[in-house]
Structures are given as structure tokens and as C-alpha cells.
């Protein structure tokens, strides 16, 4: 994973509560065996509507998506994260997230920013007033900033996720530092597994 220190650029207000991962990337896109190319499928059913916010020219090239309550509920498909990244988003700001989505995002370097509803509404108002506004998400200082409006708000990120983003760590590598403990655990729980029993029949 590449390290992420700061995400900056334009932000798009999506609005809607309960944006499930079926909306972010419909299932017809899940047949692919590659990890790339999902950006075209991002919100593909909503993008059929010419008035959909992502189709508006003033939001072209945005790097930050502003959601609302419970962004990314539903299916565990990491394809939702790949689609957001492939489209060009580097961060999603919302007041709450689906647990699996947020977890997947952390593994791929998509920055997840939880802002309480009041602060999120202020940010949405700023961006709605001027879509070209420059928004900065600072992972080191845990701040969302709109410099030209002198607006900023702190956000929380668990220390491990922050560290992983800043360092670009590979989770598997981190876990394999515990190889000796994993092997010791397996030795304590040795014996025929149900899968082995089944395969032997």
C-alpha cells in the first residue's frame, strides 16, 4: 500500500443516507478477476441520470467524496473501495460508515473521515456554495480543512489505521512478524480439521 499523508482537492457532496455497496458498485461489475478498472462502474446506475452530482462539470476531478449517515453498508465487496479509488477519490467523509466498508478502505489507503453531522453539514454547505473550494484532509494532524474559508475540524482515526496510512504498511507483513506465535497456537490446536475430514471421505 502506498503511504498517504494528505488528501486534497475538490469535494463532491453526495447527500443520501444508507449508500450501500451495491449502489457504489453494482454486482454486474463483481465478475471481474482484476483489481483495476472498477472506476467506470462507480455508482453506475445513478450515473445514468445526467443530473447526478458526479456528472456535473463543476465536480469533475474531485478527490474527496462527502457522504452522509451510514455510508458503505451491506455487501462486503472490496470492489466498492477499488471503484472509488479507481475513479479518483482518495477520501470519503461521512458521519458514519458500514463496518466492513471502513475496514476494507483502510486496507487500500482510501481515507475514511468520520465527522459529526453538524460539522459535515458545514463542510457540505461550503462546498455547495463553491464547488471549486480546495479541501484538505491531513492524516498526520487528523484535520479536515477548507483553507480559504478558515474552516477546520478535527477527526478521529484509530492509531493503527493512521500509522498504516502514513507508513503504507502491508498488513500481511505485519501479522507475519508473529509467525512464532501463530505456529505455537496451531501446535496447541493440532488435529484433524473438519475440512480435512470431509476431503478424506
Amino acid at each position: 500500500m502506498r503511504p498517504v499523508h494528505v488528501v486534497e482537492g475538490r469535494a463532491v457532496p453526495l447527500g443520501r443516507n444508507d449508500v450501500d455497496t451495491d449502489q457504489i458498485i453494482p454486482s454486474e461489475w463483481l465478475k471481474r478477476v482484476e483489481r483495476t478498472g472498477f472506476g467506470r462502474g462507480l455508482f453506475s446506475e445513478w450515473r445514468d441520470d445526467p443530473d447526478f452530482v458526479l456528472n456535473r462539470p463543476e465536480h469533475a476531478g474531485a478527490t474527496i467524496l462527502l457522504g452522509a449517515e451510514r455510508f458503505g453498508t451491506g455487501s462486503s465487496r472490496e470492489h466498492a473501495v477499488w471503484a472509488l479509488l479507481d475513479y479518483g477519490f482518495e477520501a470519503v467523509v461521512a458521519s458514519s460508515f458500514g463496518d466492513i466498508f471502513a475496514n476494507n478502505a483502510g486496507k487500500q489507503g482510501l481515507v475514511i473521515v468520520r465527522l459529526e453531522a453538524g460539522a459535515l453539514a458545514e463542510l457540505v454547505a461550503l462546498v455547495t456554495g463553491d464547488p471549486a473550494r480546495h479541501v484538505v484532509i491531513d492524516v498526520e494532524r487528523l484535520l479536515v480543512e477548507v483553507p480559504d474559508a478558515a474552516w477546520h475540524h478535527a477527526f478521529d482515526l484509530d492509531p493503527m489505521t493512521r500509522e498504516r496510512l502514513l507508513e503504507g504498511w502491508d498488513d500481511i507483513g505485519l501479522s507475519l512478524r508473529h509467525e512464532a506465535e501463530i505456529t505455537a497456537y496451531e501446535d496447541r490446536h493440532a488435529g484433524e480439521t473438519p475440512v480435512a475430514r470431509l476431503a478424506a471421505r
Binding site: R16, D22, S27, T73, E78, I100, M160, I172, V195
Partner: protein, 468 residues
Amino acid sequence: MAGRTLYDKLFDEHVVATPSGEPTLLYIDLHLVHEVTSPQAFDGLRLNGRRVRRPDRTLATADHNVPTDPPSVPVADPVSRRQLEVLEENCAEFGVTLYPRGDANQGIVHVIGPELGVSQPGMTIVCGDSHTSTHGALGALAFGIGTSEVEHVLATQTLPQQRARTMAVTVEGRLAPGVGAKDLVLAIIGRLGTGGGAGHVIEYRGEAIRDLSMEGRMTVCNMSIEAGARAGLIAVDETTIEYLRGRPGVPEGAAFDEAAARWRTYVSDDDAAFDVEVVIDASALSPRVTWGTNPAQVVPLDGVVPSPEDAGSPEERDAIERALAYMGLTPGTPLREVGVDVVFIGSCTNSRLEDLRAAAAVVEGRTVAPGVRALVVPGSHRVKAAAEAEGLDRVFAAAGFEWREPGCSMCLGMNPDQLRPGQRCASTSNRNFEGRQGRGGRTHLVSPAVAAATAVAGRFAAPAEVAP
């Protein structure tokens, strides 16, 4: 010392390491794999020169993409076909046991794990699928993961995990006749909302839960994620033990008794405290139907389509208006007056033998309403064979239902079983999201019995309403 919850026991037993300032490293006993969320994970292993650490703790099947035509019919969609082939290639290369399309053990991953006896009490179970919560019905800690985590488990057989908060959902009293596990879980989701369980593991308790069969318990745990909870749990009891006895992955004789004695310890202690407690009165529940575009937008079958005027906030009003527009519904319309085009009986929520029996009992001697397409997709080949041995296939066929081959099918429309734009479907599946069953399709979640009665009536109906 205060007692521990079942979740705490499961978590504590699987701790491999507790690195300072990092999440706990948990051991994963069973990793279930399917074609959709695994190809990029196997690719990651190859790129990094890694192997599957424990093929004997990994089991794969093809379910999401498979057509429900007989296995002799080739997979027409080249992209789906390629994904199924890639699963076969990956499993062969990495030594993973696979039940491909047509295999006697193939089926929906959350149906075959329990029925083969590989999902067992006390285990940690993961799968790249959010409905992995199903296996919690057996007293196992089971949750869905993304593809990066699939790769992580393939490589290390562990996952870094923060301890979740605990929620007890206690269902007091007894369900009325004609009210089942699906109605119960839809009512629970309606109460908790789509995010009420976020950050929590739910343990379902109480008389109505203990009274459920294992299959009903799986239906309840299956939909935990629709309330935002990654996992649902039900304590082990004699229903659990008897369900497991004789299954292929389970030991026999004295070894079974030994295992059962251990399994019986997977219950919350009497004095265990939960972070959140919710109590539901089972006796007050009636059959449920969703009207909107998330599973918490649910009303009694006896009810009406809600109005934006009922909203408690501007955001909720907006959500109701958006859902009504998508669903093509008018506020105040009785659900019983809403007609359907398609009835789907299947999915990891409701495709087990008990579900098919419940639906067949309603349709026996009756016929599907004119203009309605009705299909039954058994959850696995084993379910299909058992149902056929009882003659359920003939009951469905005589009534005008299609009797199809196992898979996820119209639950998510990755195979050719899809709704067309504007079609309305009574579905026993788990998600009524926009476009879930096909672009522009309108999904209403119901129990197998209500789905069957609806197929006969051509509109939403309870079993008692459809005359032979």
C-alpha cells in the same frame, strides 16, 4: 469476576498475539471461499510468493455467479465463466478443496458450511461475504471480510481484530403460528435500523430464539449485517448438538460426545453483561414485508405503505420519498393490494429444506397467479436432493414454479436470474437495495410462506388467505 459473554469467550480463545498499540491477532479456524471475492486475493499471494497456510482450514465453492440451469448447460456469460474457471485454477494451484458447479456438495457457501458440518460451535469463521454472520447460529464467531482480508487469512490464517461491543437482543415469548424466523429478523432490523448494530456483535437470546430450529436460527443470524452488525450469535443448546450429529465434517461415536461436551460451553455466563440490551416481544409479531430500499424499511403485511409525512427528520423524509419513487409506491396503499411480477424463493437467508417445506405446504394443490414468474432455487445440491426425496419439486412444479439448480441466483442477480426494470418481486432474500436483483428491479423481502402465498395470490398475501 463478572461472567463473560459468548462473544468474549470466542474472542479470548482465539487470541494469537496482543501486540502493544495494535489490534489483537485472532486465529481463524475456517475460511470459506467463493469465486467473487477471491481472485484478487489469490493474485496477491502469487505476487508475493506466498502460499495458502492452511488448506485444511479452507473450503471453496462456486455460488454467486453460477447459472441455475442444469450443469450440462454451459455458462453463457464469458466474464462469469472466466471467474468460475479462475476459482478452479486457484484452488488447484494452492491445494484448496473446491466444490464447483454441479458437484454433489456445491451450494451457497453459507448453506454448505453448516450442512456439511464444517462450521462448528466455538470456531472463528470468515468468508469474503457479509452474510457469513449466518454461521453464528451454531455458536461460532463468524463474520464477513473484504478481499484484502481474504488474502490475509489465506496467507496467515489470522486477522487483526479490535474487540467489538456486545448487544443482546432478547426475544421473549413465543411466535404466533404463521410467523417465522424471517418475520422475526425483519422486525428486529426494523427496530434497530440499518446502523443500530454497527460496531457490535449481536447475541440473540430468549424463548423465541431457543424455540427456533437451526435453520430458523441461521435465517436470523444471516441478516445481522442488515442491522449493521458484522456478526450474530446464538448460544449452543441441544438443538445445535442434534443438528450437527452425523454430518460429514463432524466426528463420530465417543469423539462426537467429547466434542459435544466442549460445544455446550459456548454460551454466555448467566451474569455476563452486554453493552446494549434490546428486548422484543415475540407474541406481538406478525408477518413482515419490506416496502423500501433498505431492510429496515419494513412494515407488517397487514400494514400500509408509509408516507413521507411520517418521517422524524428531513433526512428520513428524503429517504422515504426516494424509496417510494424507486419502488413505484403510493403512501397509504395496503401492502395486500400491491401486485407482484416475480416470486423468488432462495438465497442464504431462506433456501434450506425447512424453508422449502414451508413454501411447498402453502402452494400444494394451488397454482401460481397468471402473469407471475415464480422460481425456487434450493441453497445446495444436498438441499435439492433432500427436497426431491420428499417430492417438494413436484409440488412446486405442479403449482407452476420453476425448480432450479443451487446458487445465489436472484438474490443479487450476478447470474442470468434477474429482474427487468420496473418488475416487482416478493423475495425471500436479504437485501432490497436499488438494483440488487437486476437494474431497476423492485424487491420486497418476505418469508418463504408469505412468498408462496403471494405467488398464488399475485399480490402480497398470508398463507391463510389463499384458498386451495
